[in-house]
C-alpha cells in the first residue's frame, strides 16, 4: 500500500450521552511551578507555558511562590465580585427566558478570569474585553442598573439602542466597547498600549479573547505587534474548552497549549488554573509589573470551563455531555475561593448565604429600577431619530435628510415602534 495523507478532524473526548473525559487537561500540583523574577527572559521561562500555575490546593490552602498573600479583606472583596457576577448572570438569563431582553451571555464558571485580573490591575489600566468578562464591570463598580438598561435598550441605554445586550462600554471606567465581531479587540489593545508607551505613561492595557477566536488573524497581529514593539499589554486567552459547539481542539489546542504560542513570538506564555482566584491574580500581577518596567507583553492562558451555554441562543446538551461541568477537574472558582476563606477562618457558610441574599436583593432592586427606564417590549425607548447621531461627529447632509424622512414616517404612524414590534412577536 502506498502511504497516503489522512485528514485529522479533531473530536472532543465526549459528546452527549458519553462520560465526560478531561484526561487531556494537564494539571500541575498547587505550588509546584516556581515564580520567576519579572525580568526573566522568555527563553528561561518557557516551562510556564506548559505547566499550570496553581496556588490553591485541594485542602483549600494557598501554597507556593505564586501565592500573592492577599489580605482576607481583599479575598472577601474578590469573592463578593464573583458572587455578584454569578447572581447577575443568573437573573439576566431568567429575564431573557421571560422574553424581557432579546439575548444574554453568562460567564458562569469562569468569573475568576475577569474578576481577579481586574483587581490585580490599576484603575487607570485600559481593558479590552471579549463578551464574557462582565466581572470587570463588577470590580470597577459600574452601577448594575446601567448594565441592565443596556440589555433592555431602554431610555437609559449607554449604547442608545444600537448594540445587542451585553455589548457594554465604559470610558470613565477605562473599559473599551465590546464589538461582537470576535478578536478585533486583541490588536486594538496592543495599539492602545503602544500609544501609552509613546506618550510615556505607566498605564498598561489588558485584553481578553476566547481560545476559539484565537484562530482569527487578529490574534496573530496582536502577538506580532506586541512582541515587535514590546508593548505594555497583557494578552489573556480564556480557554473555556468550548467555542459554541466546537471544542478547543478546533483552535489548535490539541497540538500545543495556547500559552505556548507566546514563546513562539518571543512573548512569555503562562498557563494558569483559571478557576484559582489567587493564581490568576498572581500571574496578572507578575505580567503587569513586567509591562510597567518596559518588560513588554505577556500571554496568559486561563484554563477554565464554560459552565453555561455559549449564549441564550444555543443548547449545550446538543453537543456535550449534560453534566460535563461536574467532572471539570479544576472545580468552581467561587466555591474554591469561598473554601479558602473558610479554611483561613475568615468566612463561613452562614456569611456566604448572607452575602448571596444581600447581593440577590441588590440585583432584584437594580432590575426594578432598570425596568422603570423602559423595556424593549413595552417602552419607552429612546427617540428612534437618535439612530442618525454619532455616525460621524457632525451629521452629514444625507443623514439630515434621512432623519427628516423618518420623522415624517413616524408622524404618519407608518412604521411600527420597537414596542409594537416586540408585542407582535409575543403574539
Amino acid at each position: 500500500m502506498t502511504p497516503r495523507s489522512r485528514l485529522h478532524v479533531p473530536s472532543p473526548p465526549a459528546r452527549p450521552g458519553q462520560e465526560p473525559d478531561f484526561s487531556y487537561v494537564q494539571i500541575s500540583a498547587a505550588g509546584a511551578v516556581p515564580r520567576p523574577d519579572v525580568t526573566a527572559s522568555v527563553r528561561d521561562i518557557e516551562n510556564l507555558s506548559v505547566e499550570m500555575v496553581r496556588v490553591l490546593g485541594d485542602d483549600h490552602r494557598a501554597v507556593g511562590s505564586w501565592n500573592p498573600h492577599l489580605e482576607p479583606a481583599e479575598l472577601q472583596v474578590g469573592l463578593r465580585h464573583m458572587v455578584l457576577t454569578r447572581l447577575f448572570d443568573d437573573r439576566m438569563q431568567r429575564i431573557q427566558r421571560q422574553g424581557r431582553i432579546s439575548f444574554y451571555i453568562k460567564s458562569t464558571g469562569e468569573e475568576a478570569v475577569a474578576v481577579a485580573p481586574c483587581m490585580a490591575l490599576q484603575p487607570g489600566d485600559m481593558l479590552f474585553p471579549s463578551y464574557r468578562q462582565q466581572g470587570l464591570y463588577m470590580v470597577r463598580g459600574r452601577n448594575l442598573v446601567d448594565l441592565m438598561c443596556q440589555c433592555l435598550s431602554n431610555t437609559h441605554d449607554m449604547c442608545k439602542g444600537r448594540q445587542l445586550p451585553i455589548m457594554y462600554h465604559w470610558a470613565d471606567g477605562n473599559i473599551f466597547s465590546i464589538s461582537g465581531n470576535l478578536a478585533t479587540q486583541f490588536p486594538q489593545a496592543v495599539g492602545w498600549a503602544m500609544a501609552a508607551a509613546i506618550k510615556g505613561e505607566d498605564r498598561i492595557a489588558a485584553t481578553w479573547i476566547g481560545e476559539g477566536s484565537s484562530a482569527e488573524a487578529d490574534f496573530h497581529h496582536a502577538l506580532t505587534f506586541a512582541a515587535v514593539y514590546q508593548a505594555p499589554v497583557i494578552l489573556n486567552v480564556v480557554n473555556n474548552q468550548w467555542a459554541i459547539s466546537t471544542f478547543q481542539g478546533f483552535a489548535g489546542g490539541e497540538q500545543r497549549t495556547f500559552a505556548q504560542r507566546g514563546p513562539g513570538y518571543g512573548i512569555p506564555g503562562i498557563r494558569v488554573d483559571g478557576n484559582d482566584f489567587l493564581a490568576v491574580y498572581a500571574v496578572t500581577q507578575w505580567a503587569a509589573q513586567r509591562a510597567r518596567q518596559s518588560g513588554g507583553p505577556t500571554l496568559i492562558e486561563h484554563v477554565t470551563y464554560r459552565a453555561a451555554a455559549h449564549s441564550t441562543s444555543d443548547d449545550p446538551s446538543r453537543y456535550r455531555p449534560k453534566e460535563e461541568w461536574r467532572a471539570w477537574p479544576l472545580g468552581d472558582p467561587v466555591t474554591r475561593l469561598k473554601q479558602h476563606l473558610i479554611a483561613l477562618g475568615e468566612w463561613s457558610e452562614e456569611r456566604h448565604t448572607q452575602l448571596e441574599k444581600e447581593l440577590e436583593a441588590h440585583v432584584v432592586a437594580s432590575w426594578k429600577e432598570a425596568e422603570r427606564y423602559g423595556t424593549l417590549s413595552h417602552g419607552p425607548t429612546l427617540d428612534p431619530l437618535t439612530m442618525f447621531e454619532d455616525v460621524l461627529k457632525d451629521m452629514p447632509p444625507n443623514l439630515v435628510h434621512q432623519r427628516e424622512e423618518l420623522r415624517t414616517l413616524i408622524a404618519e404612524h407608518a412604521v411600527p415602534t420597537p414596542a409594537e414590534t416586540a408585542r407582535a412577536k409575543e403574539g
Binding site: M167, H169, T184, P187, W192, H221, V228, D390, V391
Partner: protein, 338 residues
C-alpha cells in the same frame, strides 16, 4: 508659494501636522527609515523621531487595528497602507471597528484614524497594484472617503482629515503623484511644476472635506469625476471643444450633492467618469443622485465612463484605462442625445 508634486505635498501635510500636534503619529510598512515606497514620508522619521514615525510589520489588519487602539488612547494616527490593493486584510477593522466605534458607544469612544493609501492604475502594476476600491469604502457608514486630484488639494485635504475627529480613508491616485496625467501614456510626462495646483503653501492650510470643486466652468454638460480622471476629462473636453463644466468630487463620502446638482441642473447633461470598475461602482451613486436631484432638468440620458468590469490586466493596461478616446466618445453621445 512653493512648487510641489503630490508626494511632496502629502509629505508636507504630515510634516506640518507632526510639528503642530504632538498627538499625530505615522505608521505603516516602510514609512520610517526608508520614507515609504513612494517617498511620501521621506525624512519624517529623521525629523520627528522613531516613536512618531513607525515602521510596522507587514500586516495591514494589524496596522489598522493598532492605529485604532492608538486613536482610542488619544493619538491621531496616520496609517499608510502601501497599496490600496493590500487593504483587504484590514477591511474588518475598518468596516466593523473603525467606522462604528463612535456609533456603538454613543460617542463615548472614537478613533480619529486617517488611512492613506495609493490607488489606481497606469503604472504597470497589474491587477494587485492598480485597483480603485473607493466604492467599497463609500458604502460604509461612519468613515469619510477622500480622493484628491492635485498637490494643493492633497495637502489641504490631508490636513483636514488628520485634524478632524472622524476616521478617513484617503485614496491617493498614484499615477498623478509626479504630474497630471491626461490619459495618453505616449506623451512626455508633465510635471506638477507647470500646473497651477502644483503651487502649494509650505505651512498649514486646509481644504474642507465634503466639498466638491468646480475645476472648469461650462454651460453645456457637467462632467462628474475625481482623481486621475479629472485630468483625462479636462484633456478630452479641450480636444472636443465642448463647453463642459468639470466637477472634481474630491470627497467621495460624504458627498457634496449641492455642487453636483447645481451644475447638472444648469447644464442639463451629465457624464460620470471614474477609473474603477463599473458595476456597483461609485458612478452608480453619482448617477442615482443626479437623477433624484435633476431629473426634470435633464435633456439626455446620463452616461458613465469607467474601467471595464474585469481585474486590471497587466499587459492590456491602456485598453483597460478609460482614456481620452472613451471620454470623448461619451461626451459626443451625451451632447448629441435629443
Amino acid at each position: 508659494m512653493a512648487r510641489m508634486n503630490m508626494v511632496q505635498a502629502l509629505n508636507s501635510a504630515m510634516d506640518v501636522m507632526l510639528e503642530r500636534d504632538p498627538r499625530v503619529v505615522i505608521l505603516g510598512e516602510d514609512v520610517g527609515y526608508f520614507g515609504g515606497v513612494f517617498r511620501a514620508t521621506d525624512g519624517l522619521q529623521r525629523k520627528h523621531g522613531e516613536h512618531r514615525v513607525l515602521d510596522t510589520p507587514i500586516a495591514e489588519g494589524g496596522i489598522i487595528a493598532a492605529a485604532i487602539g492608538m486613536g482610542v488612547n488619544g493619538l491621531k494616527p496616520v496609517a499608510e497602507i502601501q497599496f490600496a490593493d493590500y487593504i483587504y486584510p484590514g477591511f474588518d477593522q475598518v468596516v466593523s471597528e473603525l467606522a462604528r466605534i463612535r456609533y456603538r458607544t454613543a460617542g463615548e469612544f472614537s478613533a480619529p484614524v486617517t488611512i492613506r493609501t495609493p490607488c489606481g492604475g497606469g503604472i504597470r502594476g497589474g491587477q494587485t497594484h492598480s485597483q480603485s476600491p473607493e466604492a467599497l469604502f463609500a458604502h460604509v457608514c461612519g468613515i469619510k472617503v477622500v480622493m484628491p486630484s492635485n498637490p494643493y488639494d492633497a495637502k489641504g485635504l490631508l490636513i483636514s482629515s488628520i485634524e478632524g475627529d472622524d476616521p478617513v480613508v484617503f485614496f491617493e491616485p498614484k499615477r498623478i503623484y509626479n504630474g497630471p496625467f491626461d490619459g495618453d501614456p505616449h506623451k512626455p510626462a508633465v510635471p506638477w511644476s507647470a500646473h497651477p495646483r502644483g503651487e502649494v503653501p509650505e505651512g498649514h492650510f486646509t481644504v474642507p472635506l465634503g466639498r466638491a470643486a468646480v475645476v472648469r466652468e461650462g454651460r453645456d454638460v457637467s462632467v462628474l469625476t475625481y482623481g486621475t480622471m479629472v485630468h483625462v476629462a479636462e484633456a478630452a473636453v479641450r480636444a472636443a471643444g465642448v463647453d463642459a463644466e468639470i466637477i472634481d468630487v474630491r470627497t467621495i463620502a460624504p458627498l457634496d450633492v449641492d455642487t453636483l446638482a447645481t451644475s447638472v441642473c444648469k447644464t442639463g447633461r451629465c457624464l460620470v467618469v471614474h477609473e474603477a470598475t463599473r458595476f456597483g461602482g461609485y458612478g452608480a451613486e453619482l448617477v442615482a443622485t443626479v437623477q433624484e436631484q435633476c431629473f426634470w432638468n435633464l435633456e439626455a440620458p446620463i452616461v458613465r465612463v469607467t474601467g471595464w468590469d474585469t481585474p486590471y490586466p497587466h499587459a492590456f493596461e491602456w485598453e483597460y484605462f478609460p482614456g481620452q478616446a472613451r471620454v470623448a466618445a461619451a461626451l459626443k453621445q451625451v451632447m448629441e442625445a435629443a
